[in-house]
């Protein structure tokens, strides 16, 4: 037991837990005033069911004894009994740290279903998705499963690097968001009515809390207060700052104005992209990954209008696109200072790039199919979507019996 490592893991887990309320503000501010509470409740609901699902079986499925590299035995650590009784602080706080990852990942999905998903359907979806999608995928990548370095697909030299969750978290959630958005259909007025953010300072607050929490997410993924953690911290900040600039410049050139929504989204895009690469690249790599993440996502958020899927708050445009870019970029800029192998541009050849692409594809395919099945099952039992009347008059009042703001009187 190293008290410094435990101190940093306690701090990191606390920081990552804070990310989900941060997301509630990031998404809640972006939504309309009549659906902000529902948006926030999807995040708070994700915390509630995510934590309970994780404590019950999620942690076991993720890091328990592997069954064919596909998932951990759910009985290994049911209700964290074995972790707890062992009394080992580092193992215990690691289960807590894991819970916060499961929570934020499923919460991210809620951005694509704004204004129109039944709250009960969301709660069921989140609980099931953590168990059937998040936990197994995290087992593949971090629990010694099929996408790990010891796994069946990859060689000793070339295997996927995903330091803090490019595949497990962002590609996974991005694909799930796309599938749910397609299942739910577009909102009334989509592409015609502006649906502007009702409270941009809340979006900024959300972005700030996300960034702050992301230090726990990325630097905490070193599972120690060591050199790697420090490197992850520096790269994280560099990439996020560069992504703000990338996004704002893209807007300035295209639309003539740099928006605050762009700055907040740029923060998130940069953080997403550097997540898998946090220790795999040097600061110049982080600078490029961040800057291009800002540019790519700024361009990608417009696609939904072209293709007609209502990814309301840009889960696809930000998390899927920047998650893919960051995952693939390790294949280009990877270096062995703190990373596992050199990328293409550092003379390492194509092996890394290939491993990264394969890991991304496997995640995409599984997330799409599994989310589709869960979504369809809910659609044909309790139903996914609220009535049109509820959508127009506001989901907050209909589903939660509340409006966000009362007049001062």
């Amino acid at each position: 037991m190293d008290s410094g490592n435990i101190a940093w893991l306690l701090t990191s887990a606390s920081l990552v837990l804070l990310m989900t309320p941060g997301l509630a503000f990031f998404y809640g501010g972006m939504s309309r005033g009549k659906s902000v509470l529902n948006m926030m409740m999807m995040s708070f609901g994700a915390i509630a069911v995510g934590a309970v699902a994780w404590v019950l079986v999620g942690n076991s499925i993720s890091v328990g004894e592997s069954i064919g590299g596909l998932f951990g035995d759910p009985s290994t650590d049911f209700l964290l009994q074995s972790s707890f009784v062992s009394g080992d602080g580092e193992a215990l706080i690691a289960t807590g740290f894991g819970a916060t990852f499961a929570i934020i990942t499923v919460a991210l999905i809620s951005g694509s279903v704004a204004d129109r998903m039944k709250f009960s359907a969301w709660m069921v979806f989140a609980f099931v998705w953590v168990i059937l999608v998040y936990s197994p995928v995290s087992h593949w990548v971090w629990g010694g499963g099929i996408l790990s370095d010891g796994g069946p697909i990859f060689s000793e030299d070339w295997f996927p690097q995903d330091f803090a969750g490019g595949t497990v978290v962002h590609i996974n959630a991005g694909v799930a968001g796309l599938v749910l958005a397609l299942l739910l259909g577009v909102r009334k007025g989509f592409g015609k009515v502006p649906m502007r953010p009702h409270n941009l300072p809340f979006v900024m607050l959300g972005a700030a809390l996300l960034w702050f929490g992301w230090f726990g997410f990325n630097a905490g993924s070193a599972f120690a207060a060591d050199d790697s953690a420090a490197a992850a911290w520096v790269n994280t900040t560099t990439a996020a700052a560069a992504a703000i600039l990338g996004w704002l410049l893209t807007e300035k050139i295209r639309d003539g104005k740099a928006t605050s929504l762009g700055a907040a989204s740029g923060v998130v895009a940069g953080l997403v992209a550097i997540t898998p690469a946090a220790v795999a690249v040097d600061p110049w790599g982080a600078l490029l990954i961040g800057a291009f993440a800002g540019v790519f996502s700024a361009l990608a958020v417009g696609l939904k209008f072209k293709f007609g899927y209502d990814d309301s708050l840009d889960v696809v445009g930000v998390h899927l696109v920047a998650g893919l870019w960051g995952t693939v970029a390790i294949g280009l800029f990877g270096t062995t200072t703190f990373g596992a192998w050199d990328g293409l541009l550092l003379g390492g050849g194509l092996g890394g790039l290939w491993a990264q692409i394969v890991a991304a594809l496997v995640t995409i395919v599984y997330a799409a199919i599994a989310t589709l099945i869960i979504g369809l099952a809910i659609k044909y039992t309790i139903g996914l979507r609220v009535s049109e009347e509820v959508e127009i008059s506001g989901i907050d009042l209909a589903e939660h019996g509340e409006t966000a703001y009362e007049e001062a009187k």
């Binding site: 592409g191 502006p194 958020v301 417009g302 209008f305």
Partner: protein, 112 residues
């Protein structure tokens, strides 16, 4: 007595209030509104998508005046609020049967 109601650009509020004071008006009631007229159809780009924005914020000002002052107060408002651009607004006048001052219970012109 008359009630003169003006829908104007919000950033002209201070100028209009100054003009009203100069015209000897003793009180005003102000509130928020939004509207469209000729200004309709203005499009804007946001987050990579194009929208038609039709309701533009406006300020509403209401002034109770004696019959004799209605025309001059209208002109005072029009000239103070004018920028010459579409969206400058409208001013209209309605006849008022009676006015009461709450504080004293007075009626008619004395209540203005």
């Amino acid at each position: 007595m008359k009630l003169v109601t003006a829908i104007i650009q919000p950033h002209r509020t201070d100028e209009v209030r100054a003009a009203l004071e100069a015209a000897g008006v003793k009180g005003v009631t102000v509130s928020e509104a939004a509207g469209y007229g000729r200004q309709k159809g203005h499009t804007e780009v946001y987050r990579g998508a194009e929208y038609t924005v039709d309701l533009v914020p406006k300020a509403r000002m209401e002034v109770l005046v004696d019959d004799a002052d209605a025309a001059s107060v209208t002109e005072a408002i029009v000239s103070a609020a004018q920028t010459g651009k579409i969206g400058d607004g409208k001013v209209w006048t309605v006849s008022v049967d009676d006015v009461a001052r709450v504080r004293t219970g007075e009626h008619g012109s004395d209540a203005l």
